[in-house]
């Protein structure tokens, strides 16, 4: 019964690009309601892990078990439907569409009508469309983005674009949200707001797995941390343990030096 609240269990996943092993037997475990961070120097293979989790890349070895089912090498669409959604390191919004349309596209797989129902504007279509639109607005309200509802995504300030990307990921109905460097490019004030936002998500019942470079964010919000270097897992544990781990310090600062 202890395994009950393990949401995601990744065992020994490996990815090779030609002769290069980008991710080498990485394992992780995420329990429901946790905030987990993956850290590591640039090029360590963190985003590659995300790409395998979301079905963008095929997994060469290993298994990914989500809610008790193996999901490795499934199509991205079925992984989203299973309940994993993500954001991107470099923001990838639908920039020439409105904020609300971005969220509605996020809700695509939960919008239940088919093509002909939408062309003939049937009752079913209107009911479904009303339902997702209302949900989209309430989602925007809950994250203080509703005043931007009609704005085009490209016109939003940076911090709000990040927020919208997370909103779009939530709109898919996923319960595990993967955040790829959510604090990248943010100033300390924005990072602090982001942390608040992440806590809020967790309190609403979401589970967060994130890649982050900003140590103040990572050390503050994470329940546990996994460290990857050159594709290999080098450490994992509580933030405090990671901060003192000599291997981690070495990976970040280079051999022979001691962390401050």
């Amino acid at each position: 019964m202890a395994g009950q609240d393990v949401l995601l269990k990744v065992e020994n996943i490996t990815k090779r690009f030609g002769g290069i092993v980008a991710v080498d037997h990485v394992s992780l475990e995420v329990k429901r309601g946790e905030i987990i961070s993956i850290i590591g120097p640039n090029g360590a293979g963190k985003t590659t892990v995300f790409n395998m989790l979301t079905g963008v890349y095929e997994v060469d070895e290993g298994t990914i078990i989500f809610r008790g089912k193996e999901i490795q090498n499934q199509k991205p669409g079925s992984i989203v439907a299973a309940g994993i959604s993500r954001t991107f390191q470099n923001i990838r919004l639908f920039s020439d569409l409105r904020v609300i349309e971005n969220v509605l596209i996020g809700a695509h797989i939960r919008t239940n009508y088919h093509f002909f129902q939408s062309i003939f504007r049937t009752k079913k279509f209107r009911k479904e469309e009303d339902k997702v639109t209302e949900e989209a607005i309430r989602l925007l309200k809950s994250i203080d983005l509703d005043h931007r509802r009609d704005e085009y995504a490209s016109n939003l300030p940076y911090g709000e674009q990040r927020k919208l990307e997370i909103a779009r990921a939530i709109a898919t109905g996923a319960c595990l949200i993967l955040l790829d460097e959510p604090a990248a490019g943010m100033n300390p004030q924005e990072s602090a707001e982001l942390m608040e936002f992440i806590y809020k998500l967790r309190d609403q019942g979401y589970t967060i797995l994130m890649i982050e470079h900003d140590m103040s964010v990572v050390m503050n919000v994470s329940d546990r941390i996994y460290v990857i270097d050159h594709g290999k897992p080098i450490a994992s544990g509580l933030p405090r343990e990671i901060a003192d781990n000599p291997k981690v310090i070495e990976a970040y600062l280079g051999g022979g030096q001691k962390g401050a």
Partner: protein
Amino acid sequence: MEKTEKREKRHLLHEAELFADRNKKILVALLMAVLIVLPMALNNQYLLTVAVKIGSYVIFALGLNVLTGYTGLVSLGHAGFVAVGAYTSSLLAVKMGMNFFGATILGMVVAGLVGVLLGLPTLRVTGTYLSIITLGFGEIVKMIAMNWTPVTNGTLGVKNIPKPSLFGIDLTISNYGLYYLMLVLLLAATLFCIALLRSKSGRAMQAIRADELAGVMMGINTTAYKILAFVISACICAMGGSLYSTLIGYIDPNTFNFDVSTLILSVVILGGMGTIRGMFVGAALLIAFPEVSRFLMEYRFVLYGVILVVMMRFRPQGILGWRSTLPYRLSPEVQKRVEQADQDKPLNLWQKDED
């Protein structure tokens, strides 16, 4: 300075859009009235023929717009789909005496199937490469029309395409029937495009245009939607092609050459990619221009090119290609519910039922 000017312009646009939106019903009724009275007012066969030709091109442009404007796939061979529709329906009419409406629907079905075939390469090819494939497609259709003589009558073309007939009355230019038929088909195509755009299918297509990978990550089956865009685009163009062939009464392989493909694409770009209003203005300008500038003789095509170049330099989004400044339209039901919505626990709505 420039900034305030821009803001002022935007403000003006907003006012205009607000005005149009508030008086939408009146304006639409007015426009419809003008379009209905137009043939009586013109009472000129030549001008009416031009009007129907413009209408056909609006339909072609609406078709291409689904693919290029919404989905972001540029096609350089859309005359191919027009040809498939025109040939199928006119051959059925001429050789088998089929009614225009049945023949048109069959033409659309055939074009739709061809659309699936042409959509398949989109699984692997994107961008410029896809455009080259569509370019090849247009040429292939032309070659088939030219060389499959037993069916298409080769370079001699299809002659004496009958006018559509409804309850025993032939719809011609002189009894305005063909013009009204064009209006009905155009209205159908326009309403279809509006409905498509404001549905999850339309949003999925726009997501593909904006960022395909992000679309995939939202669970959109991008392959299916790209093929759907090809099929819809092909069907609309085939419908227009059928109308066009009965208008001119004679088609041959050269009726649907590369120039037609570029003309359709020019209409879409000039009018404003991804908009519906733009297709009307683009087609009206580009089809009417060669007619009104006949006095310029060959030079008109030079001027034609110059206009396009200048447009791309100063208004690349197209004449009517602005982003709407109006708020996203909510149904009254949603508006009401949002206003009374409980703001305390909205996020919980988004949670799937946990087992």
